[in-house]
Symmetry: C2
Subunit: 221 residues, 2 copies
């Protein structure tokens, strides 16, 4: 059976959990706070980070390497898409949310408010958080624009583009930092993906020291 080491409120871990669930793969998932086990983690992943997937004796690190590995080795329908141009569009949007969005939003809000507090026992840089909250609007508009054109972000089918974006937004939503009401089309997209069975375990995640906003697990938010 597959084994996954993850941090419940890590967007990259969540992308992998969603991909495993959408592919209906059984996995033994172990939740950890990675900074408590950094040296141990380095034997599996020299970067000392989660998610880490174990498939028998193979150890796969980095969320994109993991999802590409699942695409190559596991049965079930593709979460990248069938045609090369479709797969390129999915990968373009994965990069958008894992790099551009992380740089402009997630690192400024989630890393400041959640990781700094849990790992460093430090207070967030409020100027950084404000920049993240200002930047999020353009990305919500872009999601609305894509969703207005298609059934899902990268086309007519759910793909890893949706899972990657939803994983990022879900950790910000835990903190109550996504202004859904100002972006109705993006809200419709998130409501659609939030109601999928693959999303349920994420909505049950709770950190002992930081509670989610009241509507975090509400499907009619």
């Amino acid at each position: 059976m597959l084994k996954l080491l993850h941090f419940p409120l890590c967007p990259y871990s969540r992308k992998v959990r969603l991909a495993l669930a959408e592919k209906e793969l059984e996995v033994a998932a172990e939740a950890i706070e990675p900074w408590l086990y950094r040296d141990d983690l380095k034997t599996g992943n020299p970067a000392g980070e989660v998610p880490i997937l174990e498939d028998r004796s193979r150890v796969i690190c980095d969320s994109n390497a993991i999802v590409e590995y699942l695409e190559e080795t596991q049965r079930g329908h593709s979460l990248l898409g069938k045609e090369s141009s479709q797969r390129a569009e999915t990968r373009r949007l994965i990069a958008w949310f894992d790099k551009k969005f992380v740089h402009e939003v997630t690192d400024l809000i989630w890393r400041e408010k959640l990781i700094k507090r849990l790992r460093d026992k430090a207070t967030p840089d409020s100027a950084a958080v404000r920049r993240g909250l200002a930047n999020i609007h353009d990305h919500l508009d872009y999601i609305g624009h894509l969703f207005d054109q298609n059934h899902w972000l990268a086309g007519e089918q759910l793909t890893l583009a949706d899972l990657t974006a939803a994983a990022q937004f879900s950790v910000l939503d835990y903190l109550g930092d996504v202004p859904w009401d100002k972006h109705p089309a993006a809200k419709l997209w998130y409501a659609k993906i939030k109601s999928r069975p693959s999303f349920r375990p994420l909505l049950a995640d709770r950190l002992p020291s930081i509670r989610p906003v009241t509507y975090y697990d509400d499907l009619d938010f």
Copy 2:
């Protein structure tokens, strides 16, 4: 024929140029300063960034989407590797250099010294540059460690892991900011990849306003 829009001193553009050359694919390459054409670029790539590859009517954006697309659609040997576990190792290292290294080194040196000057006509944040120069040593040690174990970074064959790392180091090397002499194993690796025919066009790149260090195109640096 394939068409590539790129910025000569962009590490992501360079990764794609190296991959195209290693695959011996003909390409019509057009060099631009992307910030001068940001609105035009957005019609092809909503992120307004290069590299952008055109394959007949298809437009592929993001360096990883492009190299995966080339793997899927073009003939020639694979730059990811044949076996799934090899491909996972290549992709782990691509992520290492495109995300971790960029965050800890490239963004602090190259973005500060080169992009800020060209695009913003601004001076670099010298504290950021110092942090980048301090961080680079661990990465050079890691390259030396991988190279001591193998012929190339991800194993016995040249892969996209080497091309990605070399693309990142090459833009720092243009600025003279890689302390090769303190890391002899990493220097051997770089000398090996620098002498490949695929690297020659990169060594001929010159910015009008920023000259490279004297040994930039020297194969016996």
